[in-house]
């Protein structure tokens, strides 16, 4: 308590001075010790260890971690079995593109006067809040042979529907579509929030100038929500590389639906290849950092001021 009152006594009127003799600097650390401890223990130590494990052939148990240089990295980029998971990501990336376009469309439409606006908004958003395992089960039920989708298609005359999850050429499309269903709501709400913060006067001014609605979208809405589009784009790219739950729950990675993270988990926890799995995690982390860096370069401004 003496420390606390000591710091208290120094007062704080200018707010700018930060020179010496400013009281005992211990108090802030008392508040920070637990948060910083957790931060270091569960973020920085793992990152550092991961980089180190990535250069070893460690099996997760052996007290000796044998350094193997770049072997793990060479394997990731040359072994076709290791590499094919990147092609699976392309399905999810395509799904993410569809998702962004749909979210943008619905956000634009629902920003303006529409009957039952809140109902539409809620229905489009709610799937995002549902438990991932429950979504997996719901879509297994939907896509199974003779399931809801097949029954719906039968109504319009499709009598021999494909095996949505059993056919290796279709399985990733089905799973990516499930991901679109799950995450559309989040993008939609982010876009909606951004569009609603645009001042209405801008549309009125555009009206006076005789702008078409495409021009209004192009010159008012699009620039205003540029930072959000940039953000959702990074989330989409890093998200398509780190897909795990939906394919793991629905197919367990069978039929060529194994994703990068499923493979990492399998290498580490089923085959005890912690070294290789760590190298894969480093690759994923580097890609995410690279994408984030590019996004910062392309969309440097945090906020766009239109007024």
């Amino acid at each position: 308590m003496a420390v606390l009152t000591g710091v208290l006594a120094r007062g704080r009127t200018s707010g700018s001075g930060r020179g010496p003799g400013h009281g005992l600097p211990v108090t802030p650390w008392l508040f920070l010790i637990v948060p910083l401890g957790l931060l270091v223990l569960f973020t920085y130590v793992p990152v550092a260890n991961m980089v180190w494990y990535g250069f070893t052939s460690w099996d997760g148990l052996d007290p000796v971690k044998e350094p193997v240089g770049l072997d793990n990295y060479v394997r990731i980029f040359t072994d076709p079995q290791m590499f094919e998971v990147f092609f699976v990501s392309l399905y999810y990336l395509a799904g993410a593109a569809v998702q962004l376009v749909l979210a943008l469309y619905f956000a634009t439409v629902l920003s303006f006067d529409t009957r039952f606006r809140n109902f539409f908004k809620g229905v489009l958003f709610f799937p995002y809040l549902i438990n991932g395992v429950a979504i997996g089960l719901v879509f297994l039920f939907l896509l199974r042979p003779g399931g809801t989708l097949d029954a719906t298609l039968a109504l319009v005359g499709v009598s021999e529907p494909p095996q949505w999850l059993g056919d290796p050429s279709l399985v990733n499309v089905s799973l990516a579509a499930t991901s679109v269903w799950r995450y559309l709501g989040l993008n939609f709400v982010l876009f909606l929030g951004a569009i609603q913060s645009i001042p209405g006067e801008l549309y009125e001014a555009a009206d006076l100038d005789g702008a078409t609605s495409w021009q209004k979208f192009r010159y008012i809405i699009a620039p205003a929500i540029r930072p959000i589009i940039g953000l959702t784009t990074i989330l989409a790219i890093s998200g398509s590389l780190s897909v795990f739950e939906i394919p793991w729950i629905m197919t367990g990675g069978a039929n060529g639906s194994t994703t990068f993270v499923i493979q990492t988990v399998q290498q580490a926890f089923q085959f005890n290849k912690f070294g290789l799995a760590s190298a894969m995690a480093v690759v994923l982390l580097l890609i995410v950092l690279l994408v984030t860096w590019i996004q910062r370069r392309l969309f440097p401004d945090e906020r766009v001021d239109l007024t």
């Binding site: 749909l102 993270v261 945090e302």
Partner: protein, 314 residues
């Protein structure tokens, strides 16, 4: 990383904490006036296209959920013979729910989730508010470094470090205990720290100074003044963090494989084994897990929307 620099600069004039609630109405009013602008959407054809697309979207969003909901009320024979799109004969057949709840381990799942949720939320709030208080209200050597360390951590997606984090958790002897999930939820949640920091800056410093003149210590100021004023931000964090923890699958799956420690997600996942092709019971399990989310959503819609927006974009 513009955020880095803004934190060190002189703060902008304090905004009243009530700002987030007041704004959407104003924006909507302005948009209503700007509505004439998107004229093609007001032509009959435009209106038809608009509502048709919305109705298709609603169908796509609801049909998967509704059919599972209906299946949960069907008896075994009824499920085998009826069309997935047909409603159940008896809407009061709750037998599947009873089986799912008692024999499917869902009771245990809800119990474990509740414990983990409560402890992690309390921890996240204490850690987040203390960090925000220390970083925003003190000038000390290493402050920028601390800020930078928290900001840099936002760039590391948790999913990439799990293999190495696993060793840390294992080394601490927390593997296969509820504490594994709890410390991970508390320790890796940089987003709530960020939300608290943002909000903290809107609380005028003059309040701290007035309290200091009255002889309050730093701890008293944190506990009696700052913490209560952060209440709206705490509500936001409780909601978005609560939903995230309730839905989390990856962490319990990796760190708590024991059957007794199943949370809602992992219990539901295990369900698929013993009940294999018994879709009516699996459906009941899925519905049981979705219902609390639905109730929370209907009660807290506004807060969830605004919380996600501030959590994701800042």
């Amino acid at each position: 990383m513009t955020d880095h620099t803004t934190i060190g600069l002189p703060r902008p004039p304090a905004r009243p904490p009530a700002r987030p609630a007041a704004r959407p109405d104003l924006a909507r009013h302005r948009l209503a006036r700007g509505w004439r602008a998107l004229s093609p959407l007001t032509t009959p054809l435009g209106i038809t296209v608009k509502y048709t697309s919305l109705l298709i979207a609603v169908a796509c969003a609801l049909i998967p959920l509704i059919t599972v909901f209906m299946a949960a009320f069907k008896t075994r024979e009824e499920f085998a013979t009826s069309d997935p799109l047909a409603p159940p004969g008896d809407w009061f057949n709750l037998e599947n729910f009873v089986v799912a709840f008692t024999r499917g381990g869902m009771l245990q799942g809800f119990l474990n989730t509740t414990i983990i949720l409560a402890v992690s939320l309390v921890g996240t709030i204490l850690i987040g508010t203390m960090t925000a208080y220390a970083v925003d209200r003190f000038d000390f050597r290493g402050r920028r470094l601390v800020m930078g360390a928290f900001l840099l951590a936002t760039l590391v997606p948790a999913v990439t470090t799990q293999v190495a984090t696993f060793q840390v958790v294992n080394g601490l002897g927390l593997f296969n205990t509820r504490w594994a999930a709890i410390v991970l939820f508390m320790g890796t949640d940089i987003v709530s720290i960020y939300i608290f920091l943002q909000f903290m800056r809107s609380i005028p410093r003059s309040l701290d100074e007035a309290a200091m003149l009255d002889g309050a210590g730093r701890l008293t100021i944190y506990a009696r003044i700052i913490f209560p004023l952060l209440r709206p931000a705490i509500a936001t964090v409780v909601i978005i963090k609560g939903i995230a923890i309730y839905n989390e699958y990856y962490i319990p799956f990796l760190y708590m494989p024991s059957r007794d420690l199943g949370v809602v997600s992992t219990s539901l996942f295990r369900f698929m084994g013993p009940f294999g092709a018994q879709w009516e019971i699996i459906s009941a399990g899925a519905v049981l897990v979705i219902i609390p989310t639905l109730i929370a959503f209907l009660l807290l819609q506004r807060q969830i929307y605004s919380g996600l927006t501030s959590g994701a974009t800042k």
